[in-house]
Amino acid sequence: MIVGSQKPIEEIWNMVKDFKKVLVFGCNTCVAICHAGGEKEAETIASLIKMKASQEGKSMVVNNMGVMRHCEPEYFEPVMDEVKKYDLVLSTACGVGVNFLSDRTGTIPVYPGINTSFYGAVEAPGVFKELCAGCGNCILHMTGGICPVARCAKTLMNGPCGGTNKGKCEISKDVDCAWYLIVESIKALSTLDKHSEVIPPRNWSTSRDGGPRRISLEHIREYEEKEAAKTETAGGKK
């Protein structure tokens, strides 16, 4: 899931202070799981903004609301009329949600209420850990299930480097050395021989380096476009 964390109220205040009607708009999926931007936290942020406005002597209407996901239009379409009653939407969805909603609110700005941090897992209640970087070319089968792209500070394809120190990374004693973990893992899997294979330089064009990414599934699009065309024709005949 996508993990985020709340922005400090001071930063949020600077974004919202000049608006009169603010909607704090929560997303009840990934960012709710990490207690950053679900409906509950949207209400919390709204409360803080109201108190801040009061401290600053500003009169401002601040409400909150939430939908299941901001990244599929069907989820927020039913509330779009309500959303459009505000002059600012402070979205507590991840950056995906902020972008996506922003495309659909016309002249109403959508600002981010949280910082989108990484793709991670719930390591323990309240602890979220980055485990994937979305590079577009997965090699986890070669690295004992541990991703060097996301978890090695240097994104090394052939490690460890000289900075490994008793299983920890040279950047911090609190950070595990991914390559130490990889070696331990493939040892446990009895595939240590893989470690002698050199992983060739990667083509990073599948990652961010190749520019913005988009996936279009032919088998779904073909059907959908035909259906759309039919509707258009039917509409034309009317």
Partner: protein, 699 residues
């Protein structure tokens, strides 16, 4: 107008009434023939909302005062606390709430407008007749009650001895019903003063609710003659203050609850030597255990497992009852089929014998009427429509259901009222009457039982047996307010717990991690299993999607009401405005008088306090917020404190971001001291600390 499908139209619906209908009932509610929402009213009592509790009770039970004295309380027998320690004392709590609401109930009595333009005659004014009368009057019908006795109430007035049911208690219930504008004809015996046909012509519909007013007798030698009495005439004498003629040694034949009434009344009429004889043994005896225990306390001897054979007389005078040893009472199919050892007999000496072996209806008034009676002498009726064989004549209560409890007759009265309403509105009845059997929450799993602390049931004081047998006076004391609050606090809130909104839940597992009782199961979404849930409310404020609500209370109530509770904050105030969120799960708040600057917000358990509630207090201008837990390890729930502490800490962090001093919110414990109320001390100390921090300006 579409006929109402509920039993009675009523102004008050407890929070969650609608959703409760879609979910399994708490066992207490399902066990009550009238489906009284026990969890709701006990919860209201625990919050000190006595008149609301009264409303919940009386919404389905027009003889609530009566039931608060005499109900056999199947709710208690089915209480899920039975598996932990002892059941809730529901009947005593009911009595407490009703007695606390006396002025309220009297003030709200009023005439109901007769809007239907149709009239109904009700024959009999016992529990079923009174219930139907109330329901039909509420619906706007003209109702006339015909009662053969000088007062209303049926058996409640004419047979239940006053030591169990003080008549002023019964009068409260009857006044509630009659003041709706019901025509009452007492001393009016249908069959004597009018024919049923006359009533059928006079009214658009007639209800026969005459109960079982005739005692059955025994067909044994010696039964005829002086010294042998039947139960009902005897009890009528007792009820109306007449002195039945008794000897020095009374023997009551029968082991049912009416037999107990007879024997115990005989004791109270001054007979020292009262014995009972019944076919059954101690386990089989049909009377309620408490009746048996109280009778034994009153020095009544019960001769178990003897069957009456003959009444022995010397001349006219009764000498005693010859009895035969009973071998068994029930056959393999648990049907009543007593067997005897005729070789073993004995004589139970007595000079007065009272036969209390059952009752039947007096159906003589149905002779030559359109209402058919079957070959066994019972009124023919259709339980699906509550109708007799005559088109506009309905039946209710024990006349058709056979002997049962007062509250079962109430339930049947409701059914008849709905049936008559449908009939008079030209609707079909079949399939529209309420279903008696309800889905019920299962018993508590053993792993949950282990987590519930044992709390002794509050006992009720009885007058000492040697004192109480001297009069017909009621002998059971009611709860004090403190006792009632403590007892109500024992309720585990079955059926009032957490519910997940499936449209909002994204199966994040937070509730599963938070719940101390293992109630949630998370698949595509979370489901909170009611048999595990203790309604502590810990989960709802933790849910990141706000997908959890509670059946029995509004999770937003505190923050919604806080602005009004705090009111306008005076900028020139001298004392800080303190919001104190106080655990009310104990009688600790009773008589608590907080300083004016402290706004007290009672909360069932601090587990229910959301960070948003605390923030709302500051938003509304509070200078400080105290979360006051019950002290001394008294918490009714498990593992609450760490979660609540974490919430307070989070609020402190959030306030820090707004440069509001974190010391303005604290979690406190009401730990008992020798002197002042611990809640008062905690709040006063906190108020001083906040005063030192200073008053908030330009909030």
């Amino acid at each position: 107008m579409a006929p109402e499908t509920t039993c009675t139209p009523t102004e008050y619906r407890p929070y969650g009434a609608e959703i409760k209908e879609t979910r399994p009932y708490s066992p207490c509610r399902a066990a009550c023939p009238a489906h009284t929402d026990v969890q709701a009213y006990v919860g209201l009592i625990a919050q000190g909302k006595y008149t609301e509790a009264f409303e919940v009770i009386t919404s389905v039970n027009p003889i609530a005062s009566v039931c608060s004295m005499i109900c056999h309380h199947p709710c208690e027998q089915s209480c899920r606390r039975c598996g932990v320690d002892e059941p809730l004392a529901v009947r005593h709590l009911k009595r407490f709430a009703i007695e606390k609401s006396r002025d309220y109930r009297r003030a709200k009595r009023k005439l109901v407008q007769k809007t239907k333009g149709k009239s109904i005659g009700i024959v009999g004014s016992g529990p079923s007749g009174l219930t139907a009368a109330r329901d039909l009057a509420n619906l706007g019908y003209n109702v006339t009650i015909y009662e053969r006795h000088p007062v209303l109430g049926g058996m409640l007035a004419s047979a239940i001895p006053p030591y169990r049911l003080p008549r002023e208690v019964l009068k409260e219930d009857i006044d509630d019903v009659v003041t709706k504008g019901i025509e009452v004809k007492t001393n009016f015996e249908v069959g004597r003063d009018a024919k049923l046909d006359d009533l059928m012509k006079k009214h658009d519909a007639v209800l026969i609710a005459i109960g079982l007013s005739l005692s059955r007798s025994l067909n044994i030698p010696g039964v005829d003659g002086p010294g042998v009495l039947l139960a009902i005439p005897f009890l009528e004498d007792v009820a109306f203050g007449r002195k039945p003629e008794l000897g020095e040694k009374v023997l009551v034949i029968g082991g049912g609850n009416v037999a107990m009434d007879v024997a115990r009344s005989a004791r109270r009429l001054g007979v020292q030597n009262v014995e009972m004889v019944c076919l059954e043994n101690e386990q089989e005896i049909p009377a309620w255990k408490w009746e048996v225990d109280e009778a034994v306390e009153e020095a009544i001897k019960i001769n178990y497992r003897w069957g009456p054979k003959a009444i022995k007389r010397e001349g006219d005078m009764v000498k005693g009852l010859e009895v035969t040893k009973v071998l068994s009472v029930f056959d393999a199919n648990k049907r009543f089929a007593p067997t005897f050892d005729n070789n073993v007999t004995t004589l139970l000496e007595a000079d007065t014998i009272i036969i209390t072996i059952g009752q039947m209806s007096n159906l003589s008034f149905l002779k030559d009427s359109a209402v058919k009676v079957d070959e066994r002498g019972r009124v023919e009726w259709n339980p699906a429509t509550q109708m007799s064989s005559a088109r506009n004549v309905f039946v209710a209560g024990e006349v058709v259901t056979g002997p049962g409890s007062a509250i079962a007759a109430v339930a049947n009265g409701h059914r008849s009222a709905i049936a008559m309403h449908l009939f008079l509105q030209g609707e079909s009845i079949e399939g529209k009457l309420p279903v008696q059997e309800k889905d019920t929450i299962a018993q508590m799993p053993s792993e949950v039982v282990e987590k519930i602390s044992k709390e002794q049931r509050m006992t009720v004081r009885h007058l000492a047996p040697e004192v109480r047998v001297k009069t017909m006076d009621h002998f059971e004391e009611g709860y004090t307010e403190k006792e009632a609050l403590e007892e109500a606090g024992r309720c585990r809130g079955c059926g009032g717990g957490a519910v997940v909104d499936q449209k909002k839940c994204m199966a994040c597992l937070t509730c599963l991690r938070v719940c101390p009782y293992g109630a949630p199961v998370v698949e595509a979404f979370s489901t909170i299993r009611p048999e595990y849930c203790q309604a502590c409310g810990l989960c709802a404020p933790e849910c990141p999607a706000q997908a959890i609500s509670m059946v029995s209370y509004d999770v937003r109530e505190i923050r919604n009401t806080l602005p009004a509770v705090i009111g306008t904050v005076d900028p020139r105030r001298q004392e800080p405005v303190i919001v104190a969120l106080l655990c009310t799960h104990h009688a600790g708040l009773l008589g608590l008088d907080l300083p004016k600057n402290v706004c007290s917000v009672p909360v069932h358990c601090t587990s229910r306090i959301d960070i948003l509630d605390m923030l709302k207090a500051f938003e509304s201008g509070a200078d400080g917020v105290a979360v006051v837990r019950c002290g001394d390890g008294k918490c009714k729930y498990k593992d609450i404190a760490p979660r609540v502490n974490a919430r307070v800490k989070r609020v402190q962090d959030l306030l820090g971001m707004l440069k509001i001093e974190p010391g303005r919110v604290e979690i406190l414990s009401a730990t008992s001291t020798n002197g002042d109320n611990p809640y008062l001390l905690a709040c006063a100390d906190f108020s001083e600390r906040v005063k030192k921090i200073g008053l908030r300006v330009g909030r």
